[in-house]
């Protein structure tokens, strides 16, 4: 079954992903067409009707809808997301400028989030109701309750302005500093690739507070779920049986952990998707040059091409992350694997 199975599975999932993205594209097309064309907005308040008509024709909004749809899908298939009506730049370029920063922040936030939630959830599950459990639940509830931008502001006030341990929130690097040669677009990674350690450290310092903000405010559900699944696993027959057969505690814990991981993975994938899509305010507070502000402004401007690009990218990320989580789940759990045959 091995190779053929995985290839078939991947093929099926990718096909499903393409169909899902196609569906998203259709929905975006329909919704934006329902809102009306953006011609008046492009032209501004002083536009004359003649101007509007001319532009409408130029942009193809006069064509029958099916024809517009075919053109739109045709461009899409070629990876052409169109041109922003606002900046006149290709949307792919604009996204390429901004997405790596968001990705870097989301990855760092996710990594930190997993690093604190999973071990703490595991430890808390050893003694439900114990002090670790109570403290970690208090922290998790705090993280969930506090708005992420507000927590970010607190961190800034405390660590950047009061204590001076972190740099002021001006983005990814010092004002005026040159970023390392662009490879991935993620400054920390690029600095490392370039072997530029001073820039790497500097970039890490800038990354720390926003990443912590995301880790604390987005990941508590992972902690809660890790704890619950771990408690369930520790109480399960197979763990009792493993202990009864004299397997070392390390092995027993690993059995339990591995069994708890499948739901935690799915939750982590959800969290990551959420995180990528919900960095707007955090990015704003930390002047992080990511997608957040871009998406919001594009929507406010009814700038449809970027909106489409952002929505498609967001959907693709969700789909990819879920696929990844599913692949790992399948690697871990034979029952999930067989559910797919």
């Amino acid at each position: 079954m091995r190779r053929g199975f995985w290839l078939r599975y991947l093929g099926r999932r990718l096909l499903a992903a393409v169909l899902a993205l196609f569906g998203v594209a259709v929905i975006v097309f329909v919704v934006t067409r329902l809102l009306g064309d953006p011609v008046e907005l492009i032209l501004g308040q002083r536009a004359t009707p003649e101007q509007a008509a001319q532009l409408r024709a130029e942009l193809g909004y006069d064509d029958p809808l099916p024809q517009q749809f075919v053109r739109y899908i045709g461009d899409l298939v070629q990876g052409d997301l169109g041109v922003s009506n606002y900046t006149q730049r290709p949307v792919t370029d604009e996204i390429a400028d901004r997405f790596p920063a968001t990705l870097e922040l989301a990855l760092a936030g996710m990594l930190l989030g997993l690093l604190w939630t999973i071990p703490l959830g595991v430890i808390a599950a050893q003694r439900p109701g114990g002090w670790v459990d109570r403290v970690s639940r208090a922290v998790a509830e705090f993280g969930l309750a506090i708005p992420n931008f507000f927590f970010g502001l607190l961190l800034i006030l405390l660590f950047a302005y009061a204590l001076g341990w972190a740099p002021a929130p001006v983005g990814e690097l010092d004002i005026g500093a040159s970023p390392p040669p662009r490879v991935t677009g993620m400054v920390v990674v690029d600095a490392l690739l370039a072997g530029d350690l001073p820039t790497f450290w500097s970039a890490l310092k800038y990354l720390a507070l926003p990443a912590i903000t995301l880790a604390v405010t987005s990941c508590p559900p992972i902690l809660a779920l890790t704890r619950t699944s771990m408690i369930t696993a520790l109480r399960s027959d197979y763990v009792r049986s493993a202990r009864a057969f004299g397997l070392p505690p390390r092995t027993v814990r690993w059995y339990a952990l591995k069994n708890s991981l499948v739901p935690v993975l799915t939750m982590s994938a959800m969290t990551f998707g959420f995180l990528v899509g919900n960095t707007v305010l955090v990015e704003s507070v930390f002047s992080w040059p990511g997608m957040g502000l871009y998406s919001v402004q594009s929507m406010q401007r009814f700038d449809y091409a970027p909106v489409l690009g952002v929505v498609l990218l967001g959907s693709a990320i969700y789909i990819l992350v879920y696929l990844l989580a599913d692949l790992i789940s399948m690697a871990i759990d034979p029952r999930v694997r067989e559910g797919q045959t």
Partner: protein, 332 residues
Amino acid sequence: MSAAQTQSRSVLAGIADDPLLEISGLVVETGPARRPIELLRSIELAIPKGARVGVVGESGSGKSMTASAILGVLPNGVRARAGTIRFDGRDLMTLPEREMRRIRGGEISLVSQNAVASLNPLMTVGAQIAKVCREHTGVSKQEAWTRTVELLDALGIPEPDVRARSYPHHFSGGMAQRVAIAMALICSPQLVIADEPTTGLDATIQAQVLEVIDGSVKASGAALLLISHDLAVIRAMCDIVAVVYAGSLLEYGPADEVLNRPLSPYTQGLIRCMDPPEGEIAFIPGRIPEPGTLGAGCPFAERCDRATDACRAQQPALRQLRPDHWVSCHHE
């Protein structure tokens, strides 16, 4: 029985000169230390070498808790407060964890009720059995695997080398139970504890599994502690029967004796339920008391039609009323 406790030899000691396992005055409790709830209040048990001892009782009577106590794997929050568990000359209750671990699975092993659930769903069954084998014997991976496959074969699993590579959820209840038995036998233990091994299986499968246990345990020379709520199973399998109720041992003796001439009113009730007179549905009225609700009297007093004030005032000591036959009852 208080005398027995202080000697740390069971009142049952007389049953064999040198029993393999001997439990004496075992008290297991949970809850806060200041107001503990006793789950086992006075368990006595002896298993002679190579014997097959059946423990029978309703659910909640403490049968499985006794098994956990023997293996030292009591659930979180549950602790053994008093008593001794002597196994092969050692007191398991005071043994360091490291040595205890060697005993678990190596010298005493467990076949539990739900075989599928008791196996790690993420590992192939062969790997799990082999892991236990390597843990206790230190043999090579291949050797452990070979032994595993051989044992599965011996236990009647078809295509054992293929099935060893399957995951627990691929097995039917009966087949899974064979796997569990294999895991229990892989290290040639001296004592196998089978905790409701056939509960939940179809009647025909039950018989097969019992046969496997019967044959394989006999062949290995291990003693068997068979825990069941089903007196018929016990009758079919065991030489010695222990009847527990609400955390106390009520009756203990050779199977023939106990099943044919029960001394305890509770045992009598159980037997009647198993084999009711024609046209009658037999039951014991009432329910087993919740842990922590018992007074100082006989735990069965509330449901016993022969209970007297004395029964309710004081728990009767175990008395040997016939040769090798003990009972905890104020009545004759």
